[in-house]
Amino acid sequence: MTKVIIAGSKDYLHVAIDVMHKHDVIHITDFVDEDEDFKIGKPHESITKLSERAVYLRSIASSLRIKGKEDIPNKYPEGAIIETIDAKTEQLDVEVSQVTDRISETESKIKNIKDKKRLLEPLKSFDLPLEQYRGYQSLAVFVGTLKGLPTINDITNNYELETAPYGRGQVISLFVPREFEDEILKRLQEQGYAALPLPQGEGIPKDMLVDLEAQLTELQSEKQKSEGDLDDLRKKHIEYILASDEYLSIETQKAEAPLRFASTKNTFIVEGWTPTKDLGSIESDLDGTTKGHVIVAVDTSEAVDVEKVPIALKNPMPSKPLEVLVRAFSLPKYNEIDPTKLMTFMYPALFGLMLGDVGYGLLVIALGLLVSRVIKSQGMRDLAKIGVYAGLSSVIFGFIFNEFFGVEPFGHRGLLTFIVYPAVPRLDNVLTLLIVTLVIGLLMLTLGYVLGFINEYRQHGLKHAVFAKVSWLMMLWGGTIAVALVLPAMSSGTGIQLSLGLIAGLVLLVVGFIFMFMGEGAIGIAELPSLLSNVLSYTRLLSIGVSSMGIALAVNKLSDALFFSKGGIFVIFGVLLLIAGHAINTVLGILDSGLQALRLHYVEFFTKFYSGGGMKYIPFGFERKYTEEK
């Protein structure tokens, strides 16, 4: 990264912005400290118009249900948009709103009819025309629902009642002389009467319902047709809408750019960073297009704050997917070692050590390949590629451990007895493998401290690096030597021999402790136990492997004991149990091994050398998806 200052006459501001945007390499540092001479720049006057157009266009896009993530076969030439955008957007708006208006009109009609249907529904068992329910001088009419049948004989015998079952109760229509109205209402209310509103219109409810149903079908097919029209419009214009939306986003970005610049009355100044390899081309291009009115100056001063340098990770192709794991932790600072390349080997190795099984490994590879083909999200694709690496490593360790879905495939105990090679079955070698995992831990921590030494040396000099990192390294190895010599003697009860090795170990331990105390003070003592737990933490490489193998073994034994041994139809159940059990174990294996391998990096390894906190490199430009530059 090189720090650049681009300055020039305001007359060439927008030419310069166009050039910078096209090159897409300058990470602009926003100008914030305004004073009397330097002000924050003003956006281009086109910004209002651009925003208006964008709002207009996006409302059309949302009525056409265009989300802005669709794929289109061909890119749209930008030149064709610039000339026609206003006229075409207006015409599009007319076309689309004609259809959407028609749809909302139909929808409101449909709603009206449904309301009416809902009101008529309870009355459909009564043959009385609707108009005869109202307009009486001497009669009171009750139409409503009731829990049971009304009992009004004790009030009057002079009434006309119709009832029909409705829901959990009854619907009634009751005609009584006006003078009994109040008394009857009171009686009905005691029985849970709820009046039903009568819909407008004339005719027998049953016939009206048939009529409404026909209208509804017609309206719904009308709505469907309009929606078809909308789909046609969408198909016809989607490319244009996506392209012009992108065009507007780009233009807005350019118009707003001066807000990030410093400006005086007649000049503008941009401060930013660019990858050193891109410096030459943007410099000559700016010089050419502005005839020397805009200059690029390189700031080589040493006093650059490393925290403010934007970070773009640079790794060879095979390591690229692993960047997602480093970014998830934190981007490295400018003078920090980027651990991506190391992780390319170490992450799959740790994963494979845990899920060391040929069968599961092949499944993981297959899943990884499938996901990287099918899913479009870049992050998921990267994870899938890491999965392929991890699966390969699982297959390799599967051969070493001689495991295939929990069964031994080779050797004299295995399925294929004629292939014999020196495999290391995990259950037979627990103690050996436990020591191997501890050694792996020791080596990874050592590597971590060495990298940490380099980082510290670059950032704070040799003395600090020795106190902060070499001290821990000495304690790690001194402690290891001491434990390795003392522990076997203690467990066998032969007594501890004060050998030269032991003395060397103890000296390393003590000197390391003194260095650490000088470098970090008393707070370092609190960190001491973590040294032991960090190393022991690597034993998970074995424990998780053995437990995943245990589940596989259990699935195999269960399906054999419960089903296969019985034969006949039970074989099918046995196969089902095998598939389900191993599927679950694969998912568990991927999740657990994946997370634990990651944790061994993040918690045990990274903490020795890596603090991260770098700022992401975001160049000023746009990744075009729908448009072609003019």
Binding site: R327, A328, L427, V430, L536, V546, L595, Q596, R599, V603
Partner: protein
Amino acid sequence: MVDPMGAGLVAIASAIAVGATGIAAAMGEQMIGSAAIGVMAEDEGFFGKGLVMTVIPESIVIFGLVVALILLFVTLPALG
């Protein structure tokens, strides 16, 4: 000949080693996990750090598992 009583006690001991540490790890992760989710709701960028913090207590159960493995594969054979 393995003493069945002794072998049973070793099996129980390893079960306790895994079971008790499992409970302890779960209690720790429960607290850290919910706090981590809370932070992530504010800022998705904390996913990596949150994940790391959440799996830190997992070490406890791993140590339990190692103890159990040593009991089952080293101590138990030594008995017989």
